[in-house]
Symmetry: C2
Subunit: 233 residues, 2 copies
């Protein structure tokens, strides 16, 4: 996995696995990680982060102890501190992973890639749901643990949400200009689509219970939104 190359190519949602994210994090945090070899460090870092996401989902990050992480990851407490110099850093790593995924999968899908506003909006919706489906625990963690972050990290999550909203608002504005969408403030319409996208990783319990797949959900959201923003005849 050559990270330099992927940064130029932009990864598609399906290529953004936890392993890929952990490789990126391993490099990005090399200053604080004491382990040097990637072939050892990346799989172990992934064990630690997946354990943190898994336990954090059930108990919350603050209730997740380093002893929990050691047991769940199969590493000793001392080994964990070769990768993460504090729980705070672990939080930042996970956040960096989510940032990277959004940067790779959603942001590049702008006007250059697709001119038609309806298709562009559909693409943004589809990519958001697809990437958050694969990285469900990462996205849910960032959303639900936002209170645990410091101000800088918290703002970066909120800015990321606003940027995604703005990408959708751009497509909607274009559709309004072409007379195919209803003439309402684009940011306001985009703000009503965002929670529908986030619901896919926040309410997983509900969708699983109803045997809904991500593909079916993408379709349902797109149809719902299409009707809501279509210009009335």
């Amino acid at each position: 996995m050559d990270v330099t190359a992927t940064q130029l190519l932009h990864l598609r949602p399906r290529e953004l696995t936890s392993a890929v994210l952990c490789a990126v994090i391993f490099r990005q945090f090399s200053a604080t990680i004491r382990v040097q070899k990637e072939h050892v460090g990346v799989p172990n870092l992934e064990r630690i982060i997946l354990a943190a996401l898994d336990i954090g989902r059930r108990k919350g990050f603050h209730s997740t102890t380093t002893r929990d992480l050691a047991e769940a990851s199969g590493l000793s407490m001392g080994a964990i501190y070769n990768y993460v110099d504090s729980k705070e850093t672990l939080l930042r790593m996970i956040l960096a992973g989510v940032d990277y995924a959004v940067e790779q999968a959603i942001v590049p899908f702008d006007k250059g890639e697709q001119d038609d506003p309806t298709l562009r909006l559909h693409g943004l919706i589809r990519r958001h749901i697809e990437v958050s489906d694969i990285l469900q625990r990462w996205f849910a963690f960032a959303f639900l643990e936002i209170k645990s972050f410091d101000k800088v990290a918290r703002d970066s999550v909120l800015q990321s949400e606003l940027r995604n909203e703005r990408l959708m608002a751009d497509a909607i504005a274009e559709g309004i200009a072409r007379g195919i969408f209803i003439d309402l403030p684009p940011m306001r319409l985009a703000a009503m689509i965002m929670p529908l996208l986030q619901d896919w990783y926040i309410k997983r319990w509900k969708f699983r219970q109803r045997d809904m797949t991500s593909v079916a959900y993408v379709e349902a959201v797109i149809n719902f939104v299409d009707r809501a923003i279509a210009r009335p005849m």
Copy 2:
């Protein structure tokens, strides 16, 4: 405030203040609360709960220490334990308050009160946003701290969400039967309205930043939903 009477009358959203909820909680938890006089106990209980909601919003409930609560509420640590025999009980009290508010303001608004499906759906949306506007911190706490609850409490929150969805789905089903709404599974449509309602108390920072009032949000959601579920011509 006579609770027996209000349980028969059903309170409207605007009457469901934190003070009212704390009075109800004070009675409901009289077995574990050592303070007996309501005129002393209810205001103090409210100080404790509002402190827990306020600190919990910023740091999360698990990072909220009993010393934090003592300082913020103006009571000593010992006094707090006259009201709450453990942090776990405090969690249950807040949840009981939210349950009561939903029970009072949203659930009674069913077919008996309003026959027209469109108006019934509008009423459910409006009441949900209104009550969660007044009790914003309570609702946000229940949503974001759901992981901190035990299984029984967690299930009760999820069941409450499903019940609210079902109320909306009933109105939608009626509208479909009358040929005025699009013929799609009512529960699926209701599931796409729910996150729009929850967004009002989860993303308060965003709406405040945009100077949006709850009245304007109610209108925006109603219009958005109306277009999305209207039967195509």
